[in-house]
Symmetry: C2
Subunit: 200 residues, 2 copies
DNA sequence: CGAAAATTTGACATGACTCAACTGGAGTGG
DNA sequence: CCACTCCAGTTGAGTCATGTCAAATTTTCG
């Protein structure tokens, strides 16, 4: 197995430090359960039907997690870039097959933790249970906001919200994926974009 | 302070047992941090601007948590009935003022845990940290589903989904609150209902 | 019983979708 | 390095689901 580069360890350490403080021993112990992974553009980290065995931390790159609905249309649930986590929590926890795909939109570098290890880690380092609880809580809060947003705001408003919140993604991510994330047709997004350009 | 009735303790115990197993001592310890609360219809458990200091477990009754958006319109984020939990996680955690209201739609009986106590409880009984992590995770999964649903399905489909999933709420909750939950106009819901009745 | 609120109904408006055609740029192979 | 293909993005026209507003009716509750 390939060694984990130092910058990746530093990155995840910094991310952890935002919520918990680990001793060097604890961090060392944690890193023994991390695996280093590199993927190229268009590769899948996860495909529908598989069980999601890992939780992924993005060191570099840009990924999207999406579902294909009954009508065959893709629905982007979220994007993940540097220092974000991704994975299908539901599948991860229940060990049921996932309904999601996670695809690299750019070459990517990741750290992964296996589900099995997580349980051990929680026992060995209770602080990690805290970390992941907070992570999930934040995720829930963000999803609530998005739900409210999609329920109360027009396509235009949601688009403006998006470019304000994620100016970088606007640049990195293909238009039709953003449209899918916002829950609008790519054609509509194209028109919104045009309108927005004219205003400026 | 009023004593907690036995049926309330039994209810919460049963709910906890779905994910963790506490010893009698642990449960006893937990109950010392619970407060019993009764509310009447139309009373507020939480109002925008307050800090949400508690996590609430519903023993009896039916509540709604909602936000008032920029246009003055109510958006129902969720309903809570028997054996559900409610509260504003974000405010609860950050101790920032909430933007939500939680209102009783029927006379209600609740158990509440104070945020401060939670932290102690987690330390004393790590299993509880697990319980709440799982709770939040399930909540996140449900919210993801709802997001996908609102993005990919028509108002009709969402309504059918709702009555299938929560046949009891359909009965207990006012029409316009369900409309708000589904993200549609009350008039539209009324029409969907009519259509649905004709079909049957 | 009566006032206020909720629901229903009708008429109309419109934002966003669909489908189809066109444009432009990136990637590929000769 | 050009020509060709393919996919993403743009644009236009027409449609439809759902929203809005207003009025009528029913229900709720003091």
């Amino acid at each position: 197995m390939q060694n984990i580069p130092i910058y990746a360890l530093q990155a995840i350490q910094k991310t952890l430090e935002r919520h918990i403080r680990l001793t060097d021993q604890e961090f060392e112990f944690l890193t023994q359960h991390l695996t280093w992974r590199k993927l190229r553009k268009r590769q899948f980290l996860l495909q529908a039907g598989e069980v999601c065995r890992y939780n992924f931390y993005v060191v570099k790159g840009c990924l999207r997690m999406y579902e294909i609905d009954e009508t065959g249309r893709e629905r982007v649930l979220h994007f993940a870039t540097e220092n974000w986590w991704t994975g299908d929590l539901y599948s991860f926890l229940t060990q049921m097959p996932t309904s999601f795909h996670i695809e690299c939109m750019e070459d990517a570098e990741l750290l992964q933790i296996e589900q099995q290890c997580m349980e051990n880690l929680y026992t060995q380092i209770p602080k990690l249970e805290r970390f992941f609880r907070i992570l999930v809580q934040n995720s829930l809060i963000a999803t609530h906001r998005r739900l409210i947003s999609i329920m109360s705001r027009s396509a235009t408003e949601r688009y403006y919200e998006f470019i304000e919140k994620y100016p970088d993604l606007e640049q990195r991510v293909a238009n039709h994926h953003i449209a899918s994330y916002l829950g609008i047709a790519p054609e509509s997004l194209s028109r919104l974009r045009k309108e927005y350009m004219n205003k400026k």
